[in-house]
Symmetry: C2
Subunit: 370 residues, 2 copies
């Protein structure tokens, strides 16, 4: 088939996929689980809110953060020094298991380290539970485990406990990994989206959309290919440097499933304030932008695995950026600001001076991305 025709088919498939999931209800009127429930956008939020949070009646779950902050009296919890323990978990089901720039092993360590890091914690220990599919090559498992070890070393965390289950051929997909992690949040760190102020700056630690596009290319079912690498990395060194240089940082979040658009919408909803992003300042590598353009995918909705957003007071923004540049994020930049309006929503100012609203991800144009 002519490559151009294949590309058109790809574009059509992606768009019909988007349409298909958009047509599904974001509210939980579904009677069955759909792929959109796993995408990190509106459907995921509905599932979590209406099935899990309502059933568990847990104050920590209601915080709608990626890590629970344990502050109950006695221990483990608030220390004598006012520190708290952060506790977080994520399952990883990425397809394929290995892709340019990383593997499910890197993701499983970095993802949980990063959830702890953006809560303001210093990640210390990780657990790793494996669901293996009968028939998986041990050599593949060894490579993944080696990636986890290397990622843990790099992040300065230890993998201290684990579990292995095996499911019969056809009931898994090689390897699923679930990690949980914990770390301590120094008493000086008080992150809370409710503390946002109009005028605060939004910092982004690096180029966006690389991870999702790298995984999509690695699946090999698109007519286009491009040398895009996942951004998977541990960001705990970056968040610590930022908190040091910009001690009044309000809030941080890694832009994973649902991308920058979804994370910024969560921030707007939690704070009740508006987030105004500037299109021309959003860092997207040329290759990644070209791939997104060809497939008609907005990079704002593509998952990242080593890129985070931080809201800092305007007067600490420059110091924060300098610290990020020095700590290993040379492409960190300011991408927007907090405003009174649009209240609880996100707006994007385009290069031509126009403005458009940016909604949360609806549905899942790119399933199994992490």
């Amino acid at each position: 088939m002519d490559p151009k025709n294949r590309l058109n088919e790809d574009v059509h498939r992606v768009h019909s996929n988007i349409e298909r999931v958009r047509s599904r209800a974001p509210r939980l009127k579904d009677e069955r689980v759909t792929l959109a429930h796993g995408a990190g956008g509106k459907a995921s939020a509905a599932l979590v809110e209406q099935v899990f949070v309502s059933a568990y009646e847990s104050a920590e779950l209601r915080q709608a953060e990626d890590a629970a902050l344990l502050t109950f009296p006695g221990s483990p919890g608030e220390g004598d020094d006012g520190s708290r323990i952060a506790f977080s978990t994520d399952s990883y089901v990425v397809d394929p298991l290995e892709f340019p720039g990383g593997s499910i092993g890197d993701l499983a360590v970095n993802g949980t380290v990063n959830d702890l890091a953006v809560s303001g914690a210093l990640p210390e220990v990780i657990s790793a539970a494996f669901i293996l599919e009968e028939g998986l090559e041990i050599a593949v498992l060894r490579r993944i485990v080696a990636d986890m070890h290397a990622a843990a070393e790099k992040a300065g965390v230890r993998i201290v406990t684990g579990d292995t289950k095996v499911v019969p051929r056809g009931h898994g997909d090689g390897v699923y990994i679930t990690t949980a992690g914990m770390g301590r949040i120094p008493a000086s760190v008080q992150l809370d989206a409710h503390g946002l102020q109009p005028g605060d700056r939004i910092l982004c630690s690096g180029p966006i959309a690389d991870h999702g596009m790298a995984v999509m290319m690695a699946r090999g079912d698109l007519a286009i290919s491009a040398p895009i690498e996942s951004d998977t990395r541990a960001i705990n060194g970056l968040t610590a440097a930022l908190l040091d240089a910009a001690p009044h940082t309000r809030w941080m979040r890694d832009a994973t499933r649902g991308g920058v658009a979804t994370v910024m919408n969560e921030c707007a909803q939690l704070s009740g304030l508006g987030i105004v992003l500037e299109d021309q300042h959003l860092p997207v590598r040329d290759m990644t932008r070209a791939a997104c353009d060809m497939l008609g995918i907005d990079p704002l909705y593509v998952a990242n695995e080593g890129t985070f957003l931080a809201v800092v007071p305007a007067e600490e923004a420059d110091a924060g950026l300098d610290a990020l540049h020095a700590a290993g994020a040379p492409e960190a930049c300011a991408v927007g600001r907090v405003a009174e309006s649009p209240a609880a929503q996100v707006a994007l100012v385009t290069g031509f001076g126009g403005t458009r609203m940016v909604d949360m991800l609806v549905g899942d144009p790119l399933p199994r991305i992490c």
Copy 2:
């Protein structure tokens, strides 16, 4: 088909399954993952030792316990009062999702609570990560989540953080759940298999083999059926009562995958001493024993999900048993003792005065039991 013939076929199938997995190498010369790697016996141990422990180079993993005890300087770890934090994780892939006496939701909470409890910890918080299969009925998910909530309430733990991923139809099995948990171990509790002494008594908290047989019956592919219920329950109340009454308790372990035989072998290997079990004192309900007999399965190898074994000094055994009876385990009993020989092995004294050696589980006659 004549029921008797069907039963004979079942027995034959179970036995050929056992033979098939026995013929596989317990050492990791396999090049692919097999179901036996998930069964909790020798193959699991080989996989963990040769793939995970060797790669992660983690001192905690080498302890070969189900929970990591975190004692590193600073926190989270050893408190000023000498207490430590226990951290544990398990994935649950039981088939079917619901069975007499419980569901994957009960298992996922109780299993992790129990791993913490037998490490001597007071379990406090749990994380829950779901891998959902596209097409799962939301009603089923709601029931499982309700079971988790009820189990957590009963155990006195809180579910504080979680995650949800969705995999496409055909790449899961309804629901897989991974929980991680933590709790604090009081300074007074010092459990260590190296502390075992000849003459110590082995206590068993209740009837064995119910869980595995209940799940097997629930699959509905056997000619026999029997009203056997899983023993799934949280044992943290029991372990706390035991530690209170028998403060020099040496070691505890819940007898899950691989059953009592496998757990006792781990204990013998860790301590270097012999474990002598008395067949006539092993508590097995009549119905469960009959089902095991008909299928030719040794109840010593069948998984339990709410039954644990404890090694206590002889002089504290009676007080320990009294405490267990009072705390909700009326059928707790002494099932054996620690001896100089057979060194690092387990022997079973039969009713006729004979003795046979009891090996670890080899292979997996009952896959997907938890």
